[in-house]
Amino acid sequence: MSHETIQRELSAFADGELSALETEEIRSHVAACKDCRRAVDEYRLLRAEVRASAVRELPTNFASNIARTARLQSDPQAVWQGANVFARRLVLALTVVVFFVVSVGSLDSTESQVVIEPGFSGVSVDSTAQKTLLRGEVSEDDIMLAVIER
């Protein structure tokens, strides 16, 4: 092989991709040719640098996150299976709290419809009435009586 032909084969030679015969021929040429030896050294350095520039560390949960996302995308209902126990309990607790607040709110608004007749206290059984009650201006019995009469 000529020097030019060998130069074209050096890349495959460095990769060990040539036949035994070609490899032997190029090896003896490289041993005697400074330019070709340098080219082989550059290929080796290049390989080392490419490997060195690769990412060393990945997040520890990388694989589990990908597997979880894959499961969720293929089966959205799996979201509950994937959630941890704490998250599930938290969501349940929040649901109960929201339900309780909404229920109390609707009871409160029902009660505020009950109006104590004018002349008695003239206010609805709402926060104002509760304040009046606290100040001792009307008794609980008075309020109950007004509600029953209504």
């Binding site: 990769d15 991709e17 490997r51 690769a54």
Partner: protein, 193 residues
């Protein structure tokens, strides 16, 4: 057990309904996939999204895997195709954007990029690597062939299988990629050798 046979065993388990087999496959190949993406795309920010996208494609198709090639060839083909698609998408986006960009806007973007680069240097998040930058200058075809060889250590026959080209074409792509890099890194090599 031979890792290739082990992969096939995991695929069979997945096909039989064992979801944990998929996670094991991800764990086994996550670093290789992440690095093909990183070395091809040149940006750490792409790693997580594109790795996820690649493994999602694997997950969707794994039930149809026919055992006529190795799992890693099949997986790397998915990853390389994903990277090439992403390159094309970005190229189109960049071309479209440039049509509408005023010089003023380009100037602002450049200033912002300079600022980010400065910030990166200060934070030491993204070490500038001369070889990395040279790799970015290669065409996607040359770059992917070279990365599969240099980083993933695949033979020309395996690379040919991944890229669906002949081993002779692989040899040619790798030779050209190296010739281009030798030219780009002339000074760098001079200092090191």
């Amino acid at each position: 057990m031979n890792p290739v046979h082990d992969d096939l065993h995991l695929i069979r388990s997945f096909q039989a309904g064992d979801e944990s087999a998929f996670e094991e496959l991800v764990r086994r190949y996550q670093r290789q996939v992440a690095n093909i993406i990183y070395l091809t795309m040149g940006d750490r920010a792409d790693i997580e999204d594109l790795s996820q996208e690649a493994f999602l494609r694997v997950y969707k198709s794994l039930n149809r895997f026919e055992f006529d090639s190795s799992f890693y060839s099949w997986l790397y083909r998915i990853v390389v195709n994903l990277c090439i698609d992403e390159f094309r998408r970005r190229k189109i986006r960049r071309t479209l954007s440039l049509d509408f960009f005023s010089e003023d806007r380009l100037e602002k973007e450049q200033k912002s990029a300079d600022l980010n680069t400065g910030l990166d240097e200060v934070l030491g998040n993204e070490k500038k690597n001369v070889v990395r930058q040279a790799l970015d200058k290669l065409s996607p075809d040359h770059k992917t062939a070279l990365i599969l060889r240099e980083y993933n250590d695949l033979s020309y026959a395996d690379i040919a299988d991944v890229l669906k080209i002949t081993p002779q074409a692989v040899k040619s792509r790798i030779f050209r990629a190296r010739a281009e890099l030798r030219e780009l890194l002339k000074d760098y090599f001079k200092e090191r050798l």
